[in-house]
């Protein structure tokens, strides 16, 4: 039987380890929204020992590329993109402090291994329900790489955003 948790970001190690695959987690607080090209750029910066435009320590990354808000609205349609495409970049981000990921679909062995080592966690939410999910996002702002348009890095404020624990800190997969 799955349990329900209401949690504020950033998650403490204790909070992360108490979550088990299949639990429901309603998440509030700040996340970075980013996808393919932003991942590629961050990795290039880390490998070149440059200064990152975001602080990865204890951060949460949501794999997302939202629609632009309509005039007068705070947010547009928001939902997860396929996490597997970020797999090649993810272990390095985890080893640099990122702790929580929100996305959809499966992850690679390498990502699961990094999740176990660094006690990170992977939360999933269904794709294709973006009008519904937009209700749980209070704000969205551009943070870095504006030239990437919908692929830029955004800061989102989540408010009881519904997720399931996909891969827990022990590497157990839903």
């Amino acid at each position: 039987m799955s349990r329900e948790y209401y949690l504020n970001l950033p998650l403490t190690e204790e909070e992360r380890t108490s979550l088990k695959a299949g639990d429901k987690a309603f998440i509030s607080g700040k996340v970075y929204g980013m996808r393919d090209q932003a991942h590629k750029k961050l990795i290039e910066i880390i490998e070149g020992k440059g200064k990152l435009p975001i602080n990865l320590l204890n951060s949460t990354i949501f794999y997302v590329g939202p629609t632009p808000p309509k005039p007068g609205e705070k947010v547009g349609a928001i939902g997860p993109t396929t996490s597997a495409r970020m797999d090649p970049f993810t272990p390095l981000l985890i080893s640099n402090g990122m702790k929580v990921m929100i996305g959809k679909g499966r992850r690679s062995k390498e990502v699961i291994e990094a999740i176990k080592i660094y006690k990170a966690i992977y939360l999933v939410t269904p794709g294709g329900i973006s009008a519904y999910l937009s209700q749980f996002v209070d704000d969205i702002r551009l943070v870095a790489f504006p030239e990437l348009g919908p692929e830029a890095i955004y800061k989102l404020i989540l408010n009881r955003f519904p997720t399931f624990v996909g891969i827990d800190t022990g590497g157990n997969n839903l």
């Binding site: 629609t67 547009g76 959809k104 679909g105 794709g127 294709g128």
Partner: protein, 275 residues
């Protein structure tokens, strides 16, 4: 002969794109509602209820069903008794897409120079356009708005001509097992069999345009897919797919191309006829 201004095609494409992104095709909704009754896992049931809630919110508040407002694939059948005047056909279609995507604040996902700079075209054009000349004086237009989470899950295999239906089933199950969870299940599955490599893939998309009832083999394949228990959103459960359709075309004696198109649960297909 009938003269039709391509401005009518522009307007039709604009409307179809908006409708596709805001209002789930009623046949799609009916198939999902029907399947949701058979789901027994609690997470699966929850995902189904989120999907159905999403449909209502999208329609009422005019928020896109999915943030991936997709690549626009257009199928146009033009009666050979029609004379088109106005903008060239492809420009007319792309103008309709541009208007829909910029006016509605849909996400512009198309990039040019795909293996180079990947520069966003900022209006979601160009669309992929399939044209066909048919008898008569009508124009049939279908629009499929496809997200890339599911497009990336497309599979093609060139089989030898001697295989039987069991091998088609195996290829289908392999594909869904490997890629289904990432394609936003419960899936709509189109299978194209025959033609050439490129045409089999086109058939696999066309198979999902009209959502006609499934035949016996299609229902058997659907059941077989559902035994994989990938479930709604890939989180386990009874319903991995709600609909499966096969479309065939004659092929060469030396082979059998088979394409599998996994479409997400937000199957955004819309059609109209210009008379």
């Amino acid at each position: 002969m009938k003269i039709i201004d391509t401005l009518i095609i522009t307007n039709s494409i604009e409307e179809l794109c908006k409708e596709a992104n805001y209002i789930l095709n009623p046949k799609v909704t009916a198939l999902i509602e029907e399947a949701s009754k058979k789901e027994t896992s609690s997470i699966g049931q929850e995902v189904f209820s989120q999907i159905l809630l999403n449909t209502n919110i999208s329609r009422k508040k005019r928020i896109p069903l999915c943030q991936d407002t997709g690549i626009v694939i257009v199928f146009i059948e033009i009666g050979q008794g029609v004379l088109l005047k106005g903008l060239p056909l492809e420009d007319a279609v792309n103008l309709g897409v541009r208007r829909a995507y910029t006016a509605s604040f849909f996400r512009n996902s198309m990039v040019k120079d795909p293996i180079g700079k990947r520069i966003n075209t900022l209006d979601n054009t160009p669309s992929i356009i399939h044209t066909k000349i048919i008898p008569g004086e009508k124009i049939n237009i279908s629009v499929m708005v496809k997200g890339f989470g599911s497009e990336n899950a497309t599979s093609l295999k060139m089989f030898p001509p001697t295989i039987d239906k069991k091998e088609v089933e195996n290829f289908l199950l392999e594909t869904v097992k490997e890629k289904g969870a990432n394609a936003c299940p419960p899936l709509f599955i189109g299978i194209g069999i025959g033609g050439t490599a490129d045409y089999a893939i086109q058939l696999s998309k066309e198979a999902l345009l009209s959502l006609e009832p499934m035949d016996e083999w299609e229902m058997y394949l659907l059941e077989s897919v559902n035994k994989l228990r990938i479930g709604p959103a890939g989180l386990g459960g009874d319903i991995t797919s709600v609909y499966l359709k096969v479309k065939t075309f004659p092929t060469h004696i030396a082979g059998l191309p088979i394409a599998i198109n996994l479409n997400c649960h937000v199957l955004r297909v819309r059609s109209l006829v210009i008379e």
